[in-house]
C-alpha cells in the first residue's frame, strides 16, 4: 500500500533483550481510522510506543508521509505530526488542567484553538484551574485527547481510551472520535473493546504475540467474529 500516510513495514522491537514485536506491518491512509485489536500483552501498546520512538530498540521501516521516523530523536517525532494519547492518560499532577492542555508544543497549523476545545469539552473549561489529576478518570481521558488536538498533529495514536470508564463516558469518547474523524484526522486506535471500536473504525488489525495475524475492513467484522472471539478470548 504505497499511498499510506503512516507506513510501517517489518517492524521488530525489543524491551532490553526481550524481542517483543516480530515483523509488524501496518498501513494507514490519510483520514482513516484504524483499530488495533488484541488481548493484553499482544503488543498493541508496544506498537504505539515503537512508532512514537519511546521504545528505542527497533528495526524495520516507519514512515510518515515518506519521512523516516526511525532515525529521529524522540522529540522530533511529535514535530513530524504525530499526536500521542498514552495508556493511563499521562496527566501531570504538578500541572493544572489548563497547563496540561497547553503543554504539548504546536507542531503544525490547523490545530483546534483553546476556545474550540473548551466548547467540545465544557467540563475541562469549568475545571481548568484544578490540578490535572484531580479530574475524574473520564475527564482525564478527555484532557489527554484534547491535549493533542491543539497541536495541529494530523495523525493521532490513541491507547485504550475507554479502559476502566463507565459506559456513558465511553459513549461520549466515541462521539468525540467521530467528530475528529469528520475533521479529517487520521487515527490509530488501540482497543480491547471492539464493540466500541466498530463505531469509529474503518479497518481492523488483529495482533497476537507481537505479530499481526489478520486485517480486514470494518464491514467484515461480523464475518470474523469467531476468530476475534478466539484471539481476544472474550
Amino acid at each position: 500500500m504505497s499511498d499510506a500516510l503512516l507506513d510501517i513495514r517489518a517492524l521488530n522491537a525489543w524491551y532490553g533483550e526481550s524481542h517483543v514485536l516480530h515483523g509488524v506491518d501496518l498501513h494507514i491512509r490519510e483520514g482513516e481510522t484504524v483499530t488495533l485489536l488484541g488481548r493484553n500483552g499482544a503488543g498493541k501498546t508496544t506498537t504505539l510506543r515503537a512508532i512514537m520512538g519511546i521504545l528505542r530498540r527497533r528495526e524495520g521501516t516507519i514512515r510518515l508521509r515518506g519521512q523516516d521516523l526511525l532515525a529521529m530523536p524522540l522529540h522530533k517525532v511529535a514535530q513530524a505530526g504525530l499526536g500521542y494519547v498514552p495508556e493511563e492518560r499521562g496527566i501531570f499532577a504538578s500541572l493544572s488542567v489548563e497547563e496540561n492542555l497547553t503543554l504539548p508544543p504546536k507542531v503544525a497549523e490547523g490545530g483546534m484553538s483553546i476556545e474550540e476545545i473548551y466548547r467540545l469539552f465544557p467540563n475541562l473549561h469549568e475545571r481548568r484551574h484544578s490540578q490535572g489529576t484531580k479530574l475524574s478518570g473520564g475527564e482525564q481521558q478527555m484532557l489527554a485527547i484534547a491535549r493533542v488536538l491543539r497541536t495541529g498533529a494530523r495523525v493521532i495514536l490513541l491507547d485504550e481510551p475507554t479502559e476502566g470508564l463507565a459506559p456513558v463516558i465511553v459513549q461520549r469518547i466515541g462521539d468525540v472520535l467521530v467528530a475528529l474523524k469528520k475533521r479529517g484526522l487520521t487515527i490509530l486506535l488501540v482497543e480491547q473493546n471492539f464493540r466500541f471500536a466498530r463505531k469509529v473504525a474503518d479497518r481492523f488489525y488483529l495482533m497476537e504475540d507481537g505479530r499481526m495475524v489478520n486485517s480486514f475492513p470494518a464491514q467484515e467484522l461480523d464475518a470474523h467474529m469467531e476468530e476475534l472471539t478466539s484471539v481476544l478470548g472474550v
Partner: protein, 295 residues
C-alpha cells in the same frame, strides 16, 4: 538594656540577623540543588564548588579585569553556568539512566578537582572582597545596627528565590520543567526537546550557586573551601525540605538559618549540630521531608 528571655535584645536580634543571612545562602543553594535533583535525578555534589567558583569569578573579574561587583552579579553566574553546561553536555549526560550514584560520584570528583586547583593557586586563606561603595555603612534600626550589605543580601536572596519560584510555577518553561520531572519521556514524546531542558536546568542551578557565591564574597572571604563548609548543611536543608521540592528548599533554608542563629543565643554548644538534629527528626517522622510528596 531590654532583655528577652534573659537575653540582651541586641544580641538576640544580632543572631537572628546572622541566621537570616546564613538562611539566605542555604535557601539559594538548596533551591538550585532541588531544581537539579527534581529534573535530572542528580545529587549535585559540585554545588558547593560552583558557589565557590562564583565567588572566585567575581574576585578574578575585579582583580584581573577591573570589573566590579554589579557587573559580576550577572557575569559570574553566566561564566559558571557556561562551565556547568559544558560539564553536563560532555560528562553528566552520559550518566542519565544509570544508578544516581554515578552522577553523585562524578560531581563529587569534579568538586574535589575544582577545590584542589583553586587551593593550588590561591592557598586556603581567604581573599578579601570589598562590598560595593553603595552598600557600605549601616542603618540604625533603633533597636540595632543593620549593615547595609547584609540587608541587601537578605532582600536580594528573597527576590531571587521568589523569581525562581515564579519561573517554575507560572511560566511555560516552568510547566515543561515540572512535567518533565514527573515523566520526561512523555514530555519529550510531545515534542519538547528534553535533553536541552536538562542542560539548561543544570546550567541554571549552577548559575544560582554562583550568584550566591558573588553575594557571599563580601561577607565571608573568598576561599577555595567556602563551598565545602557549606554544602553539607545545604544537603541537610534539602533533605528536611523534601528532595526536589522547590518551595520546601526555600522555606526550609530560611527557617533553619534562623533556628541555627537562635540556638547560638540560647544554647551555643548545639548551634553547629542543630540542623542535623532537625534532619534526623524529620527523617524519622516524615522521610519524604516537610514539603516532599510521600512516595
Amino acid at each position: 538594656m531590654s532583655t528577652i528571655f534573659g537575653i540582651p535584645a541586641p544580641a538576640l536580634y544580632g543572631q537572628i540577623l546572622i541566621g537570616l543571612i546564613n538562611g539566605s545562602f542555604y535557601a539559594l543553594l538548596s533551591l538550585g540543588l532541588a531544581v537539579i535533583f527534581g529534573l535530572l535525578r542528580v545529587i549535585n555534589f559540585a554545588h558547593g564548588a560552583q558557589y565557590m567558583l562564583g565567588a572566585f569569578a567575581a574576585y578574578g573579574l575585579l582583580n584581573y579585569a577591573g570589573i566590579g561587583y554589579w557587573p559580576s552579579l550577572v557575569l559570574a553566574p553566566l561564566i559558571v553556568g557556561a562551565v556547568a553546561i559544558i560539564i553536563e553536555r560532555t560528562m553528566l549526560s552520559r550518566l542519565y539512566g544509570l544508578d544516581p550514584l554515578y552522577g553523585l560520584l562524578l560531581t563529587f570528583g569534579l568538586a574535589l578537582i575544582f577545590e584542589g586547583v583553586f587551593r593550588y593557586w590561591f592557598g586556603t586563606s581567604g581573599k578579601p572582597y570589598a562590598p560595593p561603595p553603595q552598600l557600605t555603612g549601616a542603618f540604625n534600626l533603633g533597636f540595632m545596627f543593620l549593615p547595609i550589605y547584609r540587608g541587601w543580601v537578605v532582600v536580594a536572596s528573597l527576590v531571587i528565590c521568589l523569581g525562581t519560584w515564579l519561573l517554575i510555577e507560572k511560566t511555560r518553561l516552568g510547566a515543561y520543567l515540572r512535567a518533565a520531572t514527573e515523566n520526561a519521556t512523555l514530555v519529550q514524546a510531545f515534542g519538547v526537546n528534553v535533553p536541552r531542558l536538562l542542560t539548561l536546568t543544570y546550567g541554571l542551578g549552577a548559575a544560582l550557586a554562583a550568584l550566591a557565591g558573588v553575594l557571599a564574597a563580601p561577607i565571608y572571604q573568598v576561599s577555595p573551601l567556602m563551598g565545602t563548609n557549606l554544602i553539607i548543611i545545604v544537603f541537610a536543608v534539602v533533605v528536611v525540605g523534601g528532595m526536589g521540592s522547590i518551595l520546601g528548599a526555600i522555606v526550609t533554608g530560611y527557617v533553619l538559618g534562623i533556628l541555627e542563629g537562635l540556638t547560638k543565643v540560647f544554647y551555643p554548644e548545639a548551634s553547629s549540630i542543630v540542623i542535623f538534629v532537625v534532619m534526623a527528626l524529620v527523617l524519622l517522622v516524615r522521610p519524604a521531608g516537610l514539603f516532599g510528596r510521600e512516595a
